[in-house]
């Protein structure tokens, strides 16, 4: 929290998911007993991130791709590509936390459920980009992606394709600041 997540370039391997990936799939309720404000427990969320996604839907297009490969807490993937309504369901901030703890720096979805989007932005965990192109049908799990955050362009280094992302708009300054608290301090709304 409060760290800079909007680096000029975000690059890494894509993990591709479909539509309506809800918060129970992102982090099942049985793991919510961990307290994310305790660093040792924050790490645990990374281990269980995306653990309830049905296997056939995990790592599209082929599916049945494990999200964790070499490390049980941190994934080798850096960018999640998804379809519609990513993060629907519960208000649990544990959802963007789990993805952050697993090493995800950005998500690119068609659109988000609003509480997930707010949690990602206000908590400053990762950058929730949106793209009008249905990238979950165009990008394959394992493709190497590069997001130019200022230009709002996603380049698929594996295929050479390039996609325009939606501007971050009014939440841009909050993401840029690193979350709600950093933003409010910048604006003088709360004292340091």
């Amino acid at each position: 929290m409060g760290r800079i997540i909007l680096t000029p370039i975000i690059t890494g391997k894509a993990f591709v998911l479909g539509d309506n990936i809800d918060t129970d799939q992102i982090i099942p309720a049985q793991y919510l007993t961990f307290n994310p404000s305790i660093p040792a427990e924050y790490k645990q969320f990374g281990k269980y991130a995306l653990s309830s996604v049905p296997p056939s839907q995990a790592g599209l297009p082929q599916g049945h791709v494990p999200f964790h490969t070499t490390d049980e807490f941190v994934s080798d993937y850096t960018i999640v590509i998804a379809g519609k309504n990513f993060g629907c369901g519960s208000s649990r901030e544990h959802a963007p936390i789990a993805l952050d703890a697993a090493g995800i720096k950005a998500i690119v979805a068609e659109f988000y459920a609003r509480i997930f989007f707010r949690n990602a932005v206000n908590g400053g965990y990762l950058v929730p980009f949106m793209c009008k192109t249905r990238l979950c049908d165009a990008v394959c799990t394992g493709d190497v992606l590069e997001i130019d955050t200022a230009a709002a362009i996603l380049r698929n280094k594996t295929t050479g394709e390039e996609y325009r992302l939606e501007p971050l708009g009014e939440v841009g300054p909050i993401i840029d600041a690193g979350g709600l608290f950093s933003y409010a301090r910048q604006q003088g709304m709360i004292k340091t």
Partner: protein, 435 residues
């Protein structure tokens, strides 16, 4: 003055502005912040980290803490989380804490809030739970937030909110005896999809809504989030004010707000409730709607009657009417939402027997008031689906793994449909049992 909807008017007032329009981002003063045992410890952690270990909350009378999720479990971490709440309440001297193991213990936060007088028309209620939108039934703007936002509100009493465009759903006519609010909202979600109201307010209106009691109105608003809605809301009427005034122990003043004539609704859908029929949401999404008649006969392993949308007195009256004098064919779990409802089940009668006696005589298992298996939880949670079984449930959400096992099949339905199905062991239309 330009006309505004109910939700717009509440946000404008709390932002100190004469007018807001959909898409505006405004900083609002918050009337009530609610948190519970799952998101409370994280919220408290954010508050301490950002404002300091000795910081005080912005207004202790406006903070409500209701442990309800993982309560009757041996899970050490879950119990530690309730201890974290207790310590914070002691440090901050918070008056509105409903602790486990005391006479004040309530159960499910969304039902406890109105029972304890924390919901009032015209206010903004934020809670660290997506079903916080339940309280829109009382004519207030109520929505779910995360830990960081809740930590911010604890310290400042403010939060930025985007003004949602309002979708209006009008229900006309009187509800037939075989339908409940759950059927109405599942029909709406099925029609617009589980993302159909994303970033929108859902305002419910029409004589069919005003004929409902507060519990049924809460069920309607509760599931706005299952269509992606930011809030569900119903303008207050005499029924609302009767409930609120009877529970508003501190006599806190409130303002009755309604949508202006000529306010802009981005969508308006009209339903004739007399022509609607019992429905279920099939696995694995609340928008996977089917009329009960279409899926009747589907084999079930379990029935579950409980949660914020199925564990209220009206829900149990409906279920008991069907179960009275009969025996369930499958494991049936009954979980009152709150301790007040649990007590009432022991006193309210149909004929000579209390509702609790009717459930027990029918072979159902009774649980303690809490969220219980609605969201799975620790493995020893009452009613949790620990196997890949098929369950019909009065709860509000059925994404994969929601009630426990990832491969469990969960059908959402009204308490009438669940009770009828418990008697046959297959999905059953309540019209087979009630007129």
């Amino acid at each position: 003055m330009t006309a505004m909807t109910l939700s717009e008017k509440i946000l404008a007032k709390h932002a100190g502005k004469p007018f807001v329009r959909p898409g505006d981002n405004v900083w609002c003063n918050i009337d009530i912040l609610m948190t519970h045992d799952v998101c409370g410890p994280g919220t408290i952690g954010v508050f301490h980290k950002q404002f300091g270990r000795d910081a005080k909350v912005w207004d202790k009378n406006k903070v409500v803490i209701i442990p309800d999720h993982y309560i009757f479990t041996a899970d050490v971490m879950a119990n530690r989380n309730v201890d974290t709440l207790r310590q914070f309440v002691r440090e901050q001297n918070l008056p509105h804490f409903y602790d486990v193991g005391t006479d004040r213990y309530k159960g499910v936060c969304h039902i406890a809030l109105p029972e304890e007088g924390h919901t009032r028309p015209g206010e903004i209620l934020l809670g660290t739970d997506s079903h916080t939108c339940t309280a829109g039934a009382f004519g207030e703007f109520a929505t779910g937030i995360g830990n960081t936002e809740a930590g911010f509100v604890l310290g400042t009493g403010k939060l930025w909110l985007s003004v949602p465009a309002t979708m209006r759903f009008v229900f006309q006519g009187n509800l037939p005896p075989y339908l409940m609010a759950k059927d109405l909202i599942l029909a709406v979600i099925g029609d617009i999809g589980c993302d159909g109201a994303t970033y929108r307010a859902m305002e419910f209106d029409g004589d069919g809504v005003y004929a409902l009691d507060m519990e049924e109105r809460m069920t309607l608003c509760n599931m706005a989030i299952e269509a992606g809605g930011k809030n569900g809301i119903i303008a207050p009427d005499r029924v609302t004010l009767g409930y609120v005034d009877a529970r508003n122990k501190s006599k806190i003043a409130y303002e009755v707000v309604k949508s202006d004539p000529g306010a802009t609704f981005m969508v308006e859908k009209v339903y004739d409730v007399t022509k609607m029929q019992p429905v279920v949401a099939k696995p694995h999404s609340p928008d996977n709607k089917a009329p009960v008649r279409e899926v009747q006969g589907t084999k079930l392993d379990r029935a579950y009657i409980g949660s914020c949308t199925g564990g209220k007195m009206g829900d149990f009256r409906g279920a008991a009417k069907i179960l009275d004098g009969k025996t369930v064919r499958i494991d049936t779990f009954v979980v009152p939402a709150t301790s007040e409802i649990a007590r009432q089940l022991k006193t309210e009668r149909i004929g000579s027997r209390t509702l609790e006696e009717i459930f027990l005589a029918a072979g159902a298992k009774m649980g303690e008031p809490s969220c219980a298996a609605c969201l799975g939880g620790p493995a020893d949670t009452f009613g949790r689906l620990n196997e890949p079984m098929s369950c019909i449930s009065t709860t509000n959400r059925n994404f994969p793994g929601r009630m426990g096992h990832k491969q469990a099949q969960v059908y959402l339905a009204s308490p009438l449909t669940v009770a009828a199905s418990a008697l046959t062991g297959t999905i059953t239309d309540p019209r087979d049992f009630v007129g």
